[in-house]
Structure formats: structure tokens, C-alpha cells
């Protein structure tokens, strides 16, 4: 399989070279040569060569952990490379800080927005910028300039609004304007669509095409094949820190890209039998709850999760999913409403009692709430039920180790020993550890929040199969995911959440991406 992959790479590269010859008029704006970056435990970039033509939209494709963000952070001056050189706009450059990169004409919109929440959009855009009246803030001048940019590219923002009150989509637009304001020649967007609804994504793509027409160069980092194919001119694929090929978008397809990205033939088609779901396991009745900032996050949620089904919850993050997860697990206070678990009112139960009743959870934030990083793997595997692993009041490490060895084997957790600290495991193995712990305690209900985020394709496949077989055993799964494809593939029923309310529930057969997309972004379906 590996050989198939590399043959393909070289042939693709050859064909690319040929077409490149025909397009000599394409001026290179960026050349990164032999870029190497080594982090303490991983080689993030391994002699990467990367070239971008002026005025193109260039996709940077790769799985999570392939080194895309690292490569771009080096270009943006956030990280110093351990080797290699960068030629930008005709000259060799060496950036010691993002300030240098900005001066040279490079802008970056990070995956986690770099905005000051307590400032207005305009102040964020102006951050660090010297207006004509510097050091005074020349708002009048700035506003005119921003409004012009906003009109040119069709990027709308309320400039006087505080960032904290903005939707993620709007925050992203502030980020883009922030870069454009500095007259960048090259704009890097890191996974820009992961927080957007399908409609917002369309708008973003329109703006990107507009930028390209105006002569701006765009690097679009993504792991979504469809998006890369839709919006880019060329695509460079990274795999495990190496450049495995640069392709012309219109000459390639999803299958080839996936093969390059993963390095083998992939087809994530998971067999899912249609079946009747059983009686309700969890009934959520008119639940209201607040978020960490004390604002209403859940506004009257009604939902029933049934035995033997996977109930998928679709929605853009920040619409109450995290709060709902916490309300079910018992770590967030309910303002109003009831939770009925197997006919029992558990609204006022603490976490421990709910765990004992058979509620398990794969939390969204794995490192923060899913595990204790400094404890060993075997200790992490008994976190929920440690009481059962005691003898005369002391921990019985013989049994604990046996228990761990069994799970490590069954769930394929790669670890040198059950006795090493859990934080030394890779992200995928931490996820396996959590799944092993949560499923092995034989729960009745599993709340799985973003269970495949950050995993490689093999890991995703594994987790999805596990969830399905778990539901087939007659258990109930509440699957919270931002990945619509995942929701469509795994769920028996799909609920759409928007601003703390369930906006619609579909059976798998009647659900389609368009309908869900409209509800996700707050629209209404016409009857």
C-alpha cells in the first residue's frame, strides 16, 4: 500500500512540473526551502519545500498533526525554524517575530482567533498599527479605510461592537480585516471553515476569490478535501511533516488527495444497519442553563435519547453543546427543567451518583477534563471506578495493572507501559484511553463530544466503529460533533442546536445537509 502511495506522488509531481513549465508567467511570491522544525517529541516539519504563486489561492492540505500550522507559523515568524530558508517577494527573509512578517506583507488568520475580547472590532483591527496621528488613535481615518476594505471584499463587521459579543463568524471577519488593513500581499488562513456554518463558508469563499482577483495571494490551510477542491487553484499536501506533492486543483480529485494525505487507500464508509430504537434512556425536559460568563446558554432544551440509537447533535460550536454536555454529566448547574434517566429524576444528583447510574462521557476537552495528565495510564483507566479497585481501603495495584493491560490490548492504546504518565501519550492514544475507560465500565448512556477531533484517519475509523457497535449493544449515544459528515454517517436521528435551542430533529433518512445547514445558522425551513 505504501508503495502505491509513493508512486502516485512522484507521477503527480512530474505532471505538475510539466504544467508548471507552461505557466511560467506565474511569478512565485513565496518559496520555503528545506524547512525543518523539531519540537521536543516530534519532527513537525521535515525538510519541507513549499512554493506559492502570486495571486493564487493555494490549499495546504493535511491531516491533523501533519505540520501545516507549524509550517505557516514559521512563515509568520511565530516559530523559528531549525533549518531551511524562506524567500518572500523576491528576497530572502528571516522573521524574528510576527511583526517582521507583517511588515514584509504577510498576514495570518489563526485557527484560534487572536482577538482582544474586551476591545471593539475597530480597536482590534488597529492593534499595533500606527495611524497618521500616531501615537494618538486616528479613528476617523481608520474607519474610512476599514469601511472601504469591507466594501471591496464584501466582509461585513460592526466596527463598534466588542469582540466578546460577536459570533465566531463575525470574529473571523474581524481577523481578516485586521490582516487586510495592513496591506498584506499574502494572507494565511488556518482552518477558517471549522467554525463556520455552510452559508458563512460560502461567503468566506466568495471573499477569498475576490481577494485573489485583486491580486492578493491566499494560503488556505484545511483538512477538508471538498473545501480545498472548491476554492483553491493549487494544493500542496503535507503528510507527517513532509511535502508529498503539489497538485493543480482542477486536475485532481477527492480520492487522489485523500490517498496523498493519508498515504494509503482510504474509504471511510462505515456500515450502519437501520434499526428500531428502543425506549427512552435520557429525557431532557425544558432545560435552562447559563454559560461560564453567566449568560443564558441553554434556553429550554427538550430531547430524548433512546436505547440502541446514536442521536447526533449538529451545530456550530458555542451554541450550547458544551453546556449541554456538562448539564448531563452533572458539572453544570441547571437553572430550570428536569433530567430523567431511566425514569429517575437525576436533576439534583451529583456527578458521582450519575456515574454510578451508568452515564459515561467523552468530554470535548480531553486533556482538561477527560484525564489527569500526570497520573499513569493505569490510574487514568480507573478514574471513574477507583473505589472498586481497592483492598482493605488501599489501592490494589495488582488488579489495576491487570485491568489496564486488558484495556490497552483491547482498545489498542499504544503506550510503553501502563505505568507511564498519561500525558506522554499522543492525542490519538489519549482519546483511545478515554474511550477505553468510558466504554469498559459498561454504561447505559454515552455522551461523546467531538470524539474524533484531532485524530488521524485510522483513529477516526476506529472511534466511529466503536460508537456504532456500542449503540448496537442496545446502549444510547449522544454524539455532539461539529463535523457534519460524521453526524450524517453515524446518527440514527439528528438534532440541530442553535443558540441554546433545538431547532429541529430529523430521522436519518429525511435529513440532508442543506436543511441542517440552514437550521445551524439560525434560518428557518419553509414548510
Amino acid at each position: 500500500m505504501r508503495f502505491g502511495g509513493s508512486n502516485l506522488v512522484s507521477s503527480e509531481l512530474n505532471s505538475e512540473n510539466k504544467t508548471e513549465d507552461n505557466k511560467m508567467e506565474n511569478k512565485k511570491i513565496l518559496e520555503m526551502k528545506g524547512i525543518t522544525k523539531i519540537f521536543p517529541r516530534v519532527v513537525a516539519n521535515d525538510k519541507v519545500d513549499f512554493e506559492v504563486n502570486a495571486g493564487e489561492i493555494h490549499g495546504l492540505l493535511g491531516e491533523n498533526g501533519a505540520g501545516k500550522t507549524t509550517l505557516m507559523s514559521i512563515l509568520y515568524g511565530l516559530y523559528r525554524p531549525d533549518g531551511g530558508e524562506i524567500i518572500f517577494d523576491g528576497g530572502k527573509v528571516e522573521f524574528h517575530s510576527p511583526g517582521d512578517a507583517i511588515k514584509a506583507g504577510i498576514g495570518m488568520v489563526h485557527q484560534h482567533f487572536m482577538l482582544v475580547n474586551k476591545m471593539t472590532a475597530l480597536n482590534n483591527i488597529l492593534l499595533g498599527y500606527r495611524t497618521p496621528k500616531d501615537p494618538l488613535m486616528d479613528y476617523e481615518w481608520a474607519r474610512k479605510r476599514v469601511e472601504k476594505l469591507s466594501k471591496t471584499y464584501g466582509i461585513e463587521v460592526d466596527f463598534d461592537e466588542q469582540v466578546i459579543n460577536m459570533s465566531v463568524g463575525e470574529q473571523q471577519r474581524v481577523e481578516i480585516l485586521k490582516a487586510l488593513f495592513r496591506d498584506v500581499k499574502l494572507l494565511i488562513l488556518d482552518e477558517p471553515t471549522s467554525v463556520l456554518t455552510p452559508i458563512e463558508t460560502e461567503k468566506l469563499f466568495k471573499a477569498l476569490r475576490r481577494m485573489s482577483e485583486e491580486g492578493l495571494t491566499v494560503i488556505f490551510i484545511t483538512h477538508k478535501l471538498k473545501e480545498a477542491l472548491e476554492v483553491t487553484d493549487r494544493i500542496t499536501v503535507l503528510r507527517r511533516g513532509k511535502n508529498v506533492g503539489t497538485l493543480i486543483t482542477k486536475d485532481t480529485n477527492e480520492k487522489d488527495l485523500a490517498r496523498l494525505m493519508v498515504g494509503r487507500e482510504v474509504e471511510i464508509v462505515i456500515e450502519k444497519k437501520k434499526k428500531e430504537s428502543g425506549e427512552p434512556v435520557l429525557r431532557i425536559e425544558e432545560i435552562y442553563a447559563k454559560n461560564d460568563r453567566g449568560l443564558p446558554a441553554l434556553k429550554g432544551i427538550n430531547l430524548t435519547v433512546k436505547r440502541g440509537e446514536i442521536l447526533g447533535m449538529a451545530g456550530v460550536s458555542g451554541n450550547g453543546q458544551k453546556e449541554l454536555e456538562e448539564v448531563i454529566v452533572g458539572t453544570r448547574k441547571v437553572e430550570k427543567g428536569r433530567l430523567i434517566f431511566n425514569g429517575e429524576d437525576i436533576t439534583d444528583y451529583g456527578v458521582g451518583r450519575r456515574v454510578a447510574l451508568g452515564i459515561s462521557c467523552i468530554p470535548e476537552d480531553r486533556i482538561e477534563t477527560g484525564m489527569a495528565p500526570s497520573l499513569t495510564v493505569e490510574e487514568n483507566l480507573i478514574l471513574r471506578d477507583y473505589v472498586k479497585f481497592t483492598k482493605n481501603g488501599f489501592m490494589d495495584f495488582e488488579i489495576i495493572e491487570k485491568h489496564a493491560e486488558k484495556l490497552i490490548d483491547e482498545f489498542g492504546i499504544k503506550t510503553p507501559s501502563p505505568k507511564v504518565a498519561a500525558r506522554t501519550l499522543s492525542g490519538g492514544n489519549i482519546q483511545r484511553l478515554i474511550i477505553a475507560r468510558e466504554l469498559s465500565r459498561n454504561p447505559v448512556l454515552l455522551v461523546a463530544s467531538q470524539p474524533t477531533r484531532g485524530l488521524d484517519i485510522a483513529g477516526i475509523e476506529y472511534v466511529r466503529k466503536r460508537l456504532i457497535s456500542f449503540a448496537e449493544e442496545g446502549k444510547a449515544v449522544l454524539l455532539i460533533s461539529e463535523d457534519l459528515e460524521e453526524i450524517m454517517q453515524l446518527s440514527d436521528r439528528i438534532a440541530v442546536i442553535y443558540e441554546g435551542k433545538i431547532r429541529g430533529i430529523f430521522d436519518r433518512e429525511e435529513a440532508d445537509l442543506e436543511k441542517i445547514g440552514i437550521l445551524m445558522s439560525g434560518g428557518f425551513l419553509e414548510n
Binding site: F39, P40, R41, V42, A44, Y76, L78, Y79, S97, P98, G99, D100, A101, I102, K103, M108, H110, F113, M114, L115, V116, N117, K118, M119, N123, N124, L126, L127, G128, Y129, R130, T131, D134, P135, L136, M137, K178, R293, G294
Partner: protein, 309 residues
């Protein structure tokens, strides 16, 4: 008539007593706005107080004393900045070390200063204004008091209307965001801590050279801690700090004045008033949420760029 006179002298004394607090509070606001908490304020102030007193005693020039006090505060702040900003050491630990260092060092070096008489800062009478009713209270102060008052609008302007203020705010709220826009996070934090130390040092010098007019071991008597509470009380805004500082100055003075009037309440109880108030302020600010109160989001957190892996 006695009451009016009492009130006028109370206002005057409150301003004088509040000025050391005002300087230190303004300085700490700048430092904290950049995201660096300096718990060592007590140590910084007391160093300024002793150094200022000593230099004035030796040179006979109280202004050199004030300047020296500021520099002493700056030097102590330099230690804090080096450890917390350059070496990313825990800010609370370094701050507490500074308290012990400041109090210990001044106690040791200042042994011979106890009981000495230095040249003090004299009030300046502003001609016409001081002759209006109560004017004598407000316009017959020493220059440091006036500088303190003038600093408030100056800092307000710098913090709210200029790029420097925006950058200071951004560095304290979201250093990563500031860094990605090319703002030198560490340099700004370093500077903010130094400025904070300088102002606190001047505050200390004013305490020994204009208010207490004497050096005793541990002269600041917890004023540094009160200033830390005042920063919270003022919501990290200079324009509010002045009210807080004068209010606490007033409480300090009141505890003396009421004794003089002979209220029959224990001296020790009166001396407790400012500290009890401090506790109330802290309690009040905990009840109102920190965020709404304007605490910098990155306060107390060292910023390390490549800490991801």
C-alpha cells in the same frame, strides 16, 4: 466654625496622606494592565521611603530624595521584571520575595536613620486659589501632591487615547493576540513593571519626606497591600484610583484626628480602620465578578511564545 476648620484640615491631610497611596496605586495599575501582578508593592514602597529619607538627610535636598526613592523602587521592580517577564517565574512568589527583601533591607540599612531629622518637602501656596474658602486645604499642598493629581488625567489619556494604551491593554488581555500583531509583549511588560516600581518608590519617598516626616522600621505599615486592594477598587482605571487613594488617606488621618478630638475609642481600633476597609473592598470586588470589574484577563500569567508542545 471649629467644624469647618476641622473639615478643611481633614481634606488637606487626606490629600497628603493619600498621595503615597495614589502614586503606588497608579504604578500598580500600569503594571497590572500589562498582565504583571506585583505583590511586592509593600517592599517597593518602603525602599522608596527609606532611600528618599536617607538621600534627603545626606544632601539636604528633599527633591533628590524623591528622585532617589523612585529609583530605589525602580531597582526593586527591575528584579521583579527580570524574574517574572524574562524568566517567566511565578509572579506571586517573586512579589512576596520582594516584600521580604524590601522590608528586611530597609530595616537593616535604615537602623541609623531612626530618630534623625531630614529636610522635608515644603508645601507651596498657590496664591489666589488658596485664599478662597477651603482653598487653603487644597491649594496649599506640596508639589508631589499636585504631580499626583496631574498624573491621573495624563495616565487616563495615555491609556485610553493613544496607541501605547491600546498596546498595554492588549498585552494584559491577550498577549498572544498582541504578539501576533507584532507588539513586543515582554518589552511592554518589562517597562510597565519598571514604571510601576518608579511611581511606588516616589509614593514611598513622599510618605517619609512629606507625610510621616520621619523614618521608622516598616514605615509603610501595610500601605503597599492597601494599594493592591485599591487597584481592584479602582477597576484598573486611574480616574477612579484618586478617589480610592484619598478616601484611604482620609481614613488614615481620621484615625488620628478623632483621637485628638477625644472620642474615647481605643487608639488601636482607630488604627485598624483602613485595614478593615481594605478587607471590605476586597470582599466587595469578589462579590462583583472580576471580569466585569475590568481585571486584565492575562493578569498573573507569564507569556511564553512556543509553549504549545
Amino acid at each position: 466654625m471649629i467644624e469647618a476648620e476641622f473639615l478643611a484640615s481633614l481634606i488637606a491631610a487626606s490629600m497628603r496622606a493619600g498621595t503615597p497611596l495614589l502614586f503606588a496605586t497608579l504604578g500598580e495599575i500600569i503594571a497590572e494592565r500589562s498582565g504583571v501582578l506585583n505583590l511586592g508593592l509593600e517592599g517597593v514602597m518602603v525602599s522608596g521611603a527609606m532611600t528618599g529619607f536617607y538621600i534627603s538627610l545626606v544632601t539636604g535636598n528633599p527633591w533628590l530624595g524623591v528622585l532617589a526613592g523612585g529609583i530605589a523602587g525602580l531597582l526593586l521592580a527591575l528584579i521583579h521584571a527580570f524574574f517574572t517577564v524574562s524568566l517567566k517565574v511565578d509572579q506571586a512568589v517573586t512579589g512576596l520575595m520582594l516584600v521580604l527583601l524590601g522590608l528586611g533591607l530597609t530595616g537593616f540599612l535604615g537602623r541609623d536613620l531612626v530618630g534623625q531629622v531630614a529636610t522635608y518637602i515644603q508645601p507651596i501656596n498657590i496664591p489666589i486659589l488658596s485664599s478662597i474658602p477651603y482653598g487653603n486645604a487644597i491649594f496649599n499642598q506640596d508639589p508631589v501632591v499636585y504631580v499626583g493629581i496631574f498624573l491621573v488625567p495624563l495616565l487616563w489619556f495615555l491609556m485610553n487615547k493613544t496607541r501605547y494604551g491600546m498596546e498595554l491593554f492588549a498585552v494584559g488581555e491577550n498577549p498572544e493576540a498582541a504578539d501576533t500583531m507584532g507588539i513586543p509583549v515582554d518589552r511592554i511588560r518589562f517597562l510597565a513593571v519598571l514604571i510601576g516600581g518608579f511611581l511606588a518608590g516616589i509614593g514611598g519617598a513622599h510618605l517619609s519626606l512629606a507625610y510621616a516626616k520621619v523614618w521608622t522600621d516598616g514605615l509603610t505599615a501595610g500601605r503597599g497591600w492597601i494599594c493592591l486592594a485599591l487597584v481592584i477598587f479602582s477597576g484598573w482605571m486611574p480616574q477612579r484610583a484618586i478617589f480610592g487613594a484619598y478616601l484611604f488617606g482620609g481614613l488614615d488621618v481620621l484615625s488620628f484626628k478623632l483621637q485628638a478630638v477625644g472620642l474615647g475609642v481605643s487608639y488601636h481600633f482607630m488604627r485598624m480602620i483602613p485595614y478593615i476597609f481594605t478587607i471590605l473592598v476586597l470582599l466587595f470586588s469578589v462579590i462583583r465578578e472580576r471580569e466585569k470589574f475590568g481585571a486584565p484577563s492575562a493578569l498573573g500569567k507569564p507569556y511564553i511564545r512556543e509553549q504549545k508542545f
